[in-house]
Symmetry: C2
Subunit: 189 residues, 2 copies
């Protein structure tokens, strides 16, 4: 069986804690869902913030909801270069010893002591999808993307969870390196 997976490209974005959200947008503030994302319950919010690094500010970075226990900024290596930070390659949630930045909202601002990462590429799938593919949580696979800029990505982490749905998350630089579009199908080798 060919194991096909859709590609989801992630532009720079930020996840925020409820505490930080309230500093940025006001006491008791709730995110406003704008658009559902591929993973059930996850959404792009209407709200955006500015992120200030030592070298520059990137304006209008979108918040993805719902709120999380920790604020986490996900950027490309190129975005990190612009900001003047060296965000390391990490799996989501693993933010110990990562650079901090200043986050500016319409009501207030927060200096996060850490939280800026380059998200490691990964594939979300449900246990049923994992079983059909012969894959389990934390497996590492290689994935082929076709086209004029065709390539094979090694070291792709498989994440299996009942709340996940089949989707491979790449950042914009990975997507552009492959000339890939959102929703294009790739093949797990």
């Amino acid at each position: 069986m060919e194991r096909k997976v859709p590609i989801g490209l992630s532009n720079k974005h930020i996840h925020v804690s409820q505490a930080d959200l309230e500093v940025l947008f006001g006491k008791g503030y709730q995110l406003t869902p704008m658009k559902d994302l591929s993973q059930p319950g996850q959404f792009a919010a209407e709200e955006k913030v500015d992120v200030v690094g030592p070298k520059s500010t990137i304006k209008g970075i979108r918040i993805l909801g719902p709120v999380r226990p920790q604020t986490q900024l996900e950027v490309s290596i190129g975005d990190g270069f612009c900001l003047g930070i060296k965000a390391p390659l990490r799996n989501s949630g693993d933010i110990a010893d990562t650079p901090g930045v200043k986050v500016v909202g319409p009501v207030g601002e927060v200096e996060i002591p850490c939280g800026a990462i380059v998200a490691a590429r990964h594939i979300h799938m449900s246990p049923e999808e994992g079983a059909a593919f012969g894959l389990k949580d934390k497996d590492i696979v290689s994935v082929q993307l076709d086209g004029p800029r065709g390539l094979i990505l090694n070291n792709v982490l498989v994440r299996v969870h009942p709340e996940f749905k089949l989707d491979m998350h790449l950042d914009v630089e990975e997507g552009n390196a492959a000339g890939a579009r959102n929703g294009q199908m790739a093949t797990i080798l």
Copy 2:
């Protein structure tokens, strides 16, 4: 024999014709070499220009010398998105039916009717290096880059010429997708 090749990462840059150079910088102007590039005779110039697209301007794009028959802007897909142009994937020199932009220098400005491309990845090598690798001009190879973001690039064009020296040219997005650094070694498979 393992076929190892150093990686050279190209940021956005522009090649200019002598005629356009003189409009941008003044009659009889000559480029000022700042730094030699990997290919013999090629150099990064002191001179920079601003490039104006329909959506935004990118300031301070470096000119690479020497002058060429045609002005050619090389950007990443992300740069093209910023400028608001859809620069296609092309080999250097193949600029028919590509987007134009406005180029602004300290003395004048030029509307180039075409010339904006995303450079297709390629490996420069001398005939001797080609012979040692069992490769000839226009061969297409796959190249492996190791590391946490390790990947295999397919569709890499081999360019063999007496004035070339072994170096694989990737753009910044391809380099970042692999977590690669300038000068890192890759393996032709």
